[in-house]
Symmetry: D2
Subunit: 133 residues, 4 copies
């Protein structure tokens, strides 16, 4: 992961728990891509009518993951209140999306995969929040 | 505002306070553009060294405004916990950005304008949060 | 429009045709919101199965409008090759989305409104491209 | 990479060269994160005055990478004209950002790393474009 290498060469010391930050940035990037692809696969399913809630939560989750990954990647003049609230919104979006994808996991393999990615990202958000007191 | 016209023709009833939602979506769009332009103007200032915190908070605010405007514009299968946390993160980003821009308002006119936009968006977020119990 | 006021106070002269730039930034903001709301309304339609292409083109168009509005709002150290290619991609996305929304305009009023917004944004992109030689 | 697993379970056949698509989506995610972190590191440098062009091209590149990764990840009702123009804009943004980061690579290690990521993403865009006739 090159983001770690960039953090290592940042001119100012990175505040807080660097591993938790990097894990969150990394999980957000993966989750944004998987949620975008899962919403797209849902759209192509013959039972798209049943997948509406899944599509909606996947696109919300993708948007929050992109923004959270960006806010977390910025370490200069960091505002911890903004970071915390952003990661918290992302955590909730990942959880909501995981719960819905899990409901479809037995009949749509892409939902099973996406649910796993969302749970990973939810945990990475939780772990980062625990380091931001 | 065509977003109001689209809401008026949405096949499902829009939950909650439609005016508060539309105001928030609209303010987020304006604030995202102003913060992007203000960060860019900061970069071109001879005292860019002094504007680093302003640039950083403007780009965070722009990102949160884009995502919040999108989450708020989606009314199908809305998840109020996700919406609330997203609007709350946006409110904090707008406030932090407004406070920093206000510090530079007397010598950079673009900061004065951007601070006003951020305060408007902060209030629109507050007003929307008050309708989401 | 406060983006015009920010441009007027930018420390460096804004290159090219300021009116074409501002119009494009403004249309992109409106089009991003309308396409997000139209895709969401499509998802709630009883004939969602028939709206899959419309949803897909609306979300592409929303993404391109957000990015194009940002790239166009940045005037410091502008790279015209990047700006031109970005506006061109946005123009094509607006056109594709307008064509599809027009197909549904007679039975879904939100598609009729969204098609109009996409055509406006397509024209604003064309007008900006004509000023970037 | 879970995006490959999701593509493998997509209900409709993925058009074109799947490896080129997945590589582009993956490089875009990495490049978006690295460019965001490099722009942030630039902001914290004592010579930020000299890094203005680098910051600007990094944020443009991050925005185009996010949007391109999303458009490429959507395979349902794909519009190849939109995909091609989007990937082309991303290729140009990666190239411009790489060229500028390379100018600073000898004195800012984060620019050296970011330049490498941008070149990889530029090549992934070129490779994808070669498969879209």
């Amino acid at each position: 992961m090159s983001i770690r290498a960039i953090f290592d060469t940042h001119p100012k010391p990175i505040g807080g728990d660097r591993d938790a930050l990097i894990r969150c940035i990394d999980e957000c990037a993966t989750c944004a891509a998987d949620c975008t692809a899962c919403a797209d696969a849902d759209l192509a399913e013959p039972d798209v009518q049943e997948m509406v809630r899944c599509i909606r939560l996947c696109v919300d989750c993708a948007d929050l993951c992109v923004t959270t990954g960006r806010v977390a990647a910025r370490q200069t003049e960091r505002d911890d209140a903004v970071l915390r609230a952003t990661v918290e919104a992302c955590r909730l979006a990942c959880r909501a999306c995981a719960e819905e994808c899990e409901r479809h996991a037995h009949h749509h393999e892409h939902c099973r995969i996406c649910a796993g990615t969302c749970r990973s990202c939810e945990q990475a958000c939780e772990a980062l929040l625990a380091t931001l007191s």
